[in-house]
Structure formats: structure tokens, C-alpha cells
């Protein structure tokens, strides 16, 4: 669909709200809508967009901004395109309308997890390009399905494929969480599920 520019709204906010309106919600995410959206962005940014179908209907898209020294390891800016379901009856507004209230709060499934980050990467890259800046290391913006249902049909499988290794990634950024205070939370590790079987032989 066409981009809407409500009067006086920052175009980055309008783009964010457009993306929030795409129903990439489980159990049947409209991934095609996300792919069309990304096609449009890649065209605007004049960056190549590669699509790899990891499973039928599960496509990973990679937008690449080649660095001036492409032999160096690249930087990955990763985000997932899917969102978890909603119980609409508990919402003040339609969870896919991206309603913005008088305080500027934008309500939508995915507003925090993590469509904000996707658009922030895109708009930061757009501004850097417009300024004439060029990266030394190659930048990859990766858009991944399936994260919210475990990642098997997305990242888990993709990292084991040659196409992933060809990206020659040295460092990755991915999602974090909101922080209610003035500080920003940064995650440097992750809790691992660790299953233990305890055998209790009875007497």
C-alpha cells in the first residue's frame, strides 16, 4: 500500500506506522506483505535485496550495503518480521491500526517487539546514505521470519547454511527490551534452556 503522511508527522514515524499495520501475526503471518514492504525500501535505498527461502513460505531477506573494504568481516543488523498474537478485547485500540494518541504513544502489536528496530535500522541507513557517508565494513540488514515460534524455520536453520557463512559476519546487533528508567538495557548473553533428567531409583 501507499505510504500515508498524516499532517505534521515525521516521515520516519509514518513509515513505522505503515509497517505496524502489516499483519505479520501468528499463527498465519502475512509475510508476503512484509516482503513487498522490504522490496519498496530496498528500491528507495538503492540497495540490493537478496531473498532466501529457508522453508516454503519462510523467506529471509538481506539488504546489503557493501563496504569500501569488503574483505573485512561484516556487521549484521538483524530483526524479525513476525509478531505474537493479540487478544483484541483487551486492547484499547485495534492492535494493527498503529493508533497514535495525544501523547504520541503509538499502540500496535510489534511496536516494541520489534518493528521499531527494523524501521530504526532502515531510517538510520537512509540518513547515512543521504549524508554521503560510506561504511568501511559491509552492512547487512537481515529480516527474518519465525522468531516468535522458535526460529526453526528462520534463523536456526539459516545460520547452518552456506549462504549465511558467505555473509562473513563479524558482529551482530539484534533486539533487546524496553527499560522503564532513563537507562537503556543491553544484552550480552542469553539464558539457555537447560533440560535435566533426574532419575530417582526407589527402594
Amino acid at each position: 500500500g501507499g505510504q500515508s503522511f498524516p499532517e505534521g508527522e515525521d516521515p520516519s514515524v509514518s513509515l513505522f506506522r505503515d509497517y505496524l499495520r502489516l499483519r505479520t501475526v501468528h499463527p498465519e503471518p502475512d509475510y508476503d506483505a512484509a516482503l513487498r514492504f522490504l522490496d519498496r525500501i530496498a528500491e528507495e535505498l538503492e540497495l540490493p535485496l537478496k531473498k532466501i527461502e529457508v522453508f516454503p513460505g519462510r523467506v529471509i531477506s538481506i539488504m546489503t550495503w557493501e563496504g569500501t573494504n569488503p574483505t573485512l568481516k561484516s556487521i549484521l543488523l538483524n530483526s524479525h518480521t513476525d509478531v505474537v498474537p493479540v487478544y483484541q478485547e483487551h486492547w484499547k485500540y485495534d492492535a494493527f491500526s498503529a493508533f497514535k494518541d495525544a501523547e504520541g504513544n503509538i499502540y500496535a502489536r510489534g511496536s516494541q517487539d520489534m518493528k521499531c528496530v527494523t524501521i530504526q535500522y532502515i531510517q538510520a541507513v537512509r540518513r547515512l546514505k543521504a549524508r554521503g557517508w560510506k561504511p568501511t565494513r559491509t552492512l547487512h540488514l537481515m529480516f527474518v521470519p519465525d522468531e516468535e515460534v522458535g526460529g526453526y524455520k528462520g534463523m536456526e536453520t539459516f545460520v547452518k547454511q552456506p549462504e549465511f557463512h558467505k555473509l562473513n559476519i563479524g558482529f551482530a546487533l539484534d533486539e533487546g527490551l524496553a527499560n522503564p528508567t532513563d537507562a537503556f538495557t543491553v544484552f550480552y548473553g542469553e539464558r539457555n534452556p537447560w533440560w535435566i533428567t533426574v532419575h530417582c531409583p526407589g527402594s
Binding site: K73, S111, F171, A183
Partner: protein, 93 residues
């Protein structure tokens, strides 16, 4: 690694410091795609530039304020160049 000697962490945290951002280092309480990236040996940081925001992921009435969102673009505008300019590492050509 969040050791100051780690060139990636150093680039990331130094640009945040330049923007007077306070960082709180944590271990992620859930599972994200980063775990697969780390599993193949690539260092990854989980970061969404949302402060002054209640944690509402997966919750009803999930929202983000537009000013916080816009500030986040400027944050990446600093972090991305810092990361993309990390000098060649000892194991790189």
C-alpha cells in the same frame, strides 16, 4: 563480551557514551534469534533503544512513544558507523 578491550563492544558502548546514554548490561531473560547467531561463534548484542518505556512485549496495549522511537534512529545513526569503522582485527586480512 562486554570487556572494554573487545573492539565491537568498545565501538558500541563508546558511541552510546558520546550520546550520554546510560547502559544497563543484562543477560536476556528469554530466547531470541541472537542465540543462533552466538551459537555459530558470532558475537551479538541485544539492544532496542527504548528507555522511559514500560516493558510491554507480547502484552496487551503494547506501545512506543514516537519521540523515543525517533531518538532511537539517531542512536543507530551513531552506532552503525562506529561498528562499520572498527579497524581490521588481528584475524582479518
Amino acid at each position: 563480551s562486554t570487556d572494554e578491550s573487545d573492539p565491537w563492544w568498545n565501538a558500541f558502548s563508546a558511541s552510546c557514551k558520546e550520546m550520554n546514554m546510560t547502559l544497563k548490561k543484562e543477560i536476556f531473560p528469554a530466547a531470541t534469534d541472537s542465540r543462533f547467531i552466538r551459537a555459530v561463534g558470532i558475537p551479538a548484542i541485544g539492544f532496542s533503544p527504548m528507555n522511559r518505556t514500560p516493558i510491554l512485549l507480547h502484552d496487551h496495549n503494547e506501545y512506543l512513544n514516537e519521540q523515543v522511537f525517533l531518538k532511537g534512529i539517531s542512536v543507530y545513526e551513531r552506532i552503525i558507523p562506529a561498528l562499520a569503522s572498527v579497524a581490521a582485527l588481528p584475524n582479518e586480512a
